[in-house]
Symmetry: C2
Subunit: 693 residues, 2 copies
């Protein structure tokens, strides 16, 4: 307890004393002009937040009057709003708050304030925190949980509340309106009185920002926590237990959002333990929360071996259940069919579930993308998924439109992002990882937003120290010296990460020893289930490399709709990005570029490394525009990323060369590790900045 208190003290001292340590995120204070706020409706907490934000952040004409008007309007959906030079109109108080944030963002980033209507793509825009009751965070790279404490004393301090409020404000400012407070690998204790009490305290702080609280629950809670003999979803005692427990949750948190469930997945208990289906399990909980308007988000991340190809398993399990779920159940589907790899084709479940609400799950925390070391801006990756055409209801059936209600008449819609937030002063470990939190919110609000715009906004808000640009005084220096090159860096960063870690559709070739950080194409300890090991995925052999998912292979392509299935099935038409995801090809396969597969692979690896070096140069040149503290942190992380990119490249090339027996092209940078070293260390002593775990 002492050490946590001390850390907190230090932490608070740090972010109080130093303005540019990253704690302020994209909400750094600027001198505000006086403004008069006029509002209709009752004076609620949400409205008070909206007014206070306007008054603290107004960058417009001094003495102006802004109206916040609560009003039904057919063109306004959910918590959408209409923005005009006069003020904000919305159907809900949350809508007014989002309108205020949009207004302030436009002022700060120098965008024109014309009349605009903005509606969220998804009704629920939810962060999933993989925070454990002991304060640790699964796949967390930014310190301990902001919600839970190791000592379980459950005392809510003033510092806790201040931090949760800052967190809620950050979420609201980008439209996030929900937070699952605990890990999907859930403890049954989360529904016990002590934890519920703390969840209520959190909900009370989040409420004035329009952020609802959700909990992840363990399916076997009736037995584990309730002492029942079973957790069978059709058992009357189990049904009753869930109803009673849910009633207690809503007694404490009347606007509780609902449950998130990982069941019958990776060793977690679930309905299949009792011979029931996912639908049986999800509906049990859906019925329990229905009286209160609650939701059940049921994860489709399952891969019991119903097929030799893990990529097919979730589809095989869920498609037969389409239409069997209650309308307050949403199936939460990871963007790709495997597991948050730097690049995956979209999950074939998108669009295939036609009578069931489906929500995309993205991973904001960079489990497979360099964690809090590598600078990787994820908006382009998520946009790539959202814009993918499933063809399931004809051309234009993008993943975005299949999940936001445009294609299928689903009652509820949502998007989830696995949070990257922790107790680190700058919240996310890497200053640029804040951009992924920001981007998730912005894309959940508008699933067609351009990555370039998101990066532009975030950079201006997060780094610009100059006065707001105006038509007469454009911030030329900042734009040319910082914004343009650093934005370019961000936009190129994800492709660089793909290149140095999983070029041409290779996937799941990371080290398991180091928590999915660094390369491990050789990793396959005896006795490990095959589909947890890289050789299962890359299938490297003398005759070639890649997973054959064509119609003559695992036939995973058949889970996609035509014409996509046919396109993917043919190596001549399959995009290079997914080539080795769907095909096992000889090392001398002739690529579209005219090069052999082997040479192309080598060039991609090397390009990734060279790109990171360019990012370093870009950042070094941006030094005059950045405060010293954030500059140094990012500079150091880029250095480590640069070294680790080389490790990825060397490991990949030297490992696969054992099978290809082909020389590394002379035009790329020769390896600076030996395969023996890389394997012996699996991965080698990876270079993390001092202080990193």
């Amino acid at each position: 307890m002492k050490s946590i208190l001390f850390s907190l003290l230090l932490f608070c001292a740090t972010f109080t004393l130093r303005a540019e340590n990253g704690h302020q995120l994209w909400l750094r204070p600027h001198p505000a002009a006086p403004v008069t706020v006029v509002s209709s409706g009752k004076n609620s907490a949400l409205l008070a937040t909206a007014k206070s934000e306007l008054q603290q952040g107004w960058q417009g004409r001094a003495g102006a009057t802004v109206k916040l008007t609560l009003k039904k309007d057919k063109s306004i959906k959910y918590d959408g709003f209409r923005l005009s030079p006069q003020g904000v109109e919305a159907a809900t108080e949350a809508g007014l708050l989002y309108g205020v944030y949009e207004l302030l963002r436009r002022q700060q980033t120098g965008q024109p304030l014309t009349e605009v209507i903005s509606n969220p793509s998804y009704e629920h825009r939810v962060l999933n925190h993989w925070d454990n009751p002991d304060g640790s965070v699964e796949r967390g790279y930014a310190g301990k949980s902001i919600f839970w404490r190791q000592d379980s004393s459950f005392v809510v301090t003033g510092r806790d509340k201040a931090l949760w409020q800052q967190y809620a404000r950050a979420n609201a400012s980008v439209g996030i309106n929900g937070a699952v407070l605990n890990n999907v690998n859930a403890s049954p204790m989360i529904l016990s009185a002590d934890y519920l009490g703390r969840a209520k305290a959190i909900a009370d702080v989040l409420r004035p920002y329009g952020v609802k609280v959700y909990l992840a629950v363990k399916f076997s809670s009736p037995a584990l926590l309730g002492g029942l003999k079973t957790s069978d979803p059709l058992d009357p005692a189990v049904i009753a237990w869930w109803k009673a427990r849910t009633r207690e949750v809503y007694r404490q948190i009347p606007d509780f959002g609902g449950f998130l469930v990982k069941a019958s997945s990776e060793g977690q208990p679930g309905p299949q333990d009792f011979g029931r289906t996912h639908a049986d399990g999800a509906n049990l909980l859906a019925d329990a929360v229905r009286p209160y308007g609650g939701l059940v988000m049921w994860r489709a991340f399952v891969y019991s071996p119903n097929d030799k190809d893990r990529a097919k398993q979730a589809y095989n399990e869920f498609v037969p259940l389409d239409g069997k779920f209650r309308d307050n159940v949403i199936i939460q589907v990871k963007n790709g069919p495997i597991d948050f790899q730097p690049r995956e084709p979209f999950s074939p479940l998108f669009g295939a579930l036609k009578k069931t609400a489906v929500m995309p799950e993205f991973q904001i925390t960079q489990e497979y993308l360099g964690q809090a070391i590598d600078l990787v801006f994820l908006a382009p990756m998520w946009a790539e998924c959202l814009r993918s055409d499933t063809y399931q209801a004809g051309p234009g059936s993008t993943v975005a439109r299949c999940t936001d209600g445009s294609v299928y008449p689903q009652k509820h819609s949502a998007m989830a992002g696995v949070s990257n937030v922790g107790l680190d002063t700058n919240w996310t470990g890497h200053d640029f990882a804040q951009a992924n939190w920001y981007a998730f919110g912005r894309l959940a609000w508008n699933n067609t937003l351009a990555s370039e715009q998101i990066a532009d906004e975030w950079l201006r808000l997060t780094f610009d120290n100059s006065a707001p640009p105006t038509a007469n005084q454009p911030a030329a220096d900042f734009n040319a010296g910082f914004l343009t090159p650093v934005k370019q860096l961000m936009l190129a960063s994800r492709e660089a990460a793909v290149d140095y870690s999983m070029p041409l559709g290779l996937h799941h070739i990371m080290s398991a020893t180091h928590g999915h950080y660094g390369p491990g194409p050789w990793w396959a300890p005896p006795g490990t289930r095959a589909d947890w090991t890289p050789p299962y995925y890359h299938q490297a052999a003398a005759n070639g490399v890649g997973f054959d998912r064509t119609s003559t292979g695992s036939n995973a392509v058949s889970q996609y709709h035509e014409p996509l299935a046919g396109q993917l099935n043919n190596p001549a038409t399959c995009p290079d990005e997914y080539l080795l995801w769907f095909h096992h090809l000889p090392w001398d396969f002739k690529m579209k570029s005219g090069r052999t597969l082997w040479d192309e692979l080598a060039l991609h690896y090397d390009h990734g490394v060279q790109q990171v070096r360019q990012f370093q140069r870009t950042w070094d040149a941006a030094r005059p525009y950045v405060d010293a503290e954030r500059f140094a942190l990012v500079q150091n992380k880029l250095r480590t990323q640069s070294g680790n990119a080389v490790i990825w490249k060397d490991a990949g090339l030297l490992y696969f060369q054992q099978f290809s027996h082909l020389p590394i092209p002379a035009e790329i940078e020769p390896p600076m590790h030996t395969l023996e070293q890389l394997i012996a260390n699996d991965a080698p002593p990876l270079r993390r900045p001092a202080g990193q775990p």
Copy 2:
């Protein structure tokens, strides 16, 4: 004992079964043509060796007759020889043997066999083995000692003798005629009966190859081994003890070469412990060996703090003693005034001792040059020293001429090289480190030999698998595909190592933690004597970097003769290579290139790294010409060297940047480590190929 026997067994098995594991050195067997050898003189062991070598290696006309003629000749010096199409003439049997090796070398490398007279530059061409009685080797990177065994059983096996014979043959083939069998940090036990017995056994094996045995002795042996109360060199009992002990040595080894002594140096006992001088100490031993024609090689590697600049101390101690040494004493002087750094100016003792025999000591084992990892061909470094003009007896008084008897009438002349040989199958750990053993011998024989010729010979002998080239059939492929590029690699390798580890004359900035392997510019643990720490040498500060040895600094330049002293004293005329050795200059000092010192430093560091990458490409392209085993070993070592070069560069630049506060030039490769990491690990987990200590 078991493990050593087993290793030896394995070792012998290895080099018997596989031809190209490097064990054959530059003496790989080729099919020989029949030849008749006719010789004058008595049929001694040396002559038998010469005949047998001729018969085993003859590549000339089948059935030819070759004459070996023992004959006095004014134009033949020491063990020199006259080579003609008829055969070899020499004044000694060793001379005949050297002539035979030269003849065979010319046949194998396709050089014309015109009449030639070849005399050795130095009378004594001696390897110093820093081998300890327990079998370990100080600064040895190629396994344990070939002479001594940990278990001290002193049993001489047939395998021992076979190995010693191969060793002797390799030495003789390049003209090396002496071996100091044990470390200069000597144990008194080396003069005990058991060790002397083993030394005698070694001498017996080496004798037929003309290689004399020497021993390094501890100055306090009379007290430690003899039980005397003192080791005072003027004490009659001490004098008598040394005479008696020496008599015993010569009883066992009648042609024993003499003693090598490290005294009053780095904690070793010496005459100064008794208030006597180095001359008193050396003369004591010189008188003991004089009746037998023995020599004393007395090391000048001393740096007791008689001056604030360590570089000046040996000169200060020895110059006043000039003329006070017996004529069978040779002062052994390291090439530079500090300690075998990748680049040093020559020691000012060369040429300054005018009435005392002086011999250069070079380090073949790569203590500061990447040990058995980095490919560094040392001939250019040694040639640089030998060709340096001391001006001590007018222009042309090169180090070579000041030590080989050309300038001063010294009675004896010698050159020493600290050996890189160990029990590794390929003798030297790195296949290319064999070239340094070879080069040492060749330069000791001819101290004006071009590095290019040495590399050419060694590469042809060590790697060429084709038939001997003839005028009609030049080995075009091997020359163009292997010889030319790899020779270029070798010749560039030392400058690359200087660039990535100690550019512009920076020196002694290596890690002490890792045994002088890798960077440590920050290394200065509290309580360490200052002149063992890098900051003492680089003097980096806000006002600049480098050791001021000018006339307004330590005035070390004054130990050099004009016009050199004046040239070194002025930064405008001091060569860039030695700039920071002699000058402390501001970071923005304008270099001859027009760049600032800081930028120039960065470019040198980076150039070193890029050079190693080029070496990798060169070696990769040479694959068709090399057997798989040696190709892979060298390829892997180059990879590790490449990574370590980056570590050197990053450590140097990031460390010095703390003082320069200048940006790293954008045109070089950005760092891929952080300074914190590098310091925390001092140096980072250095990447050695698997199996390396």
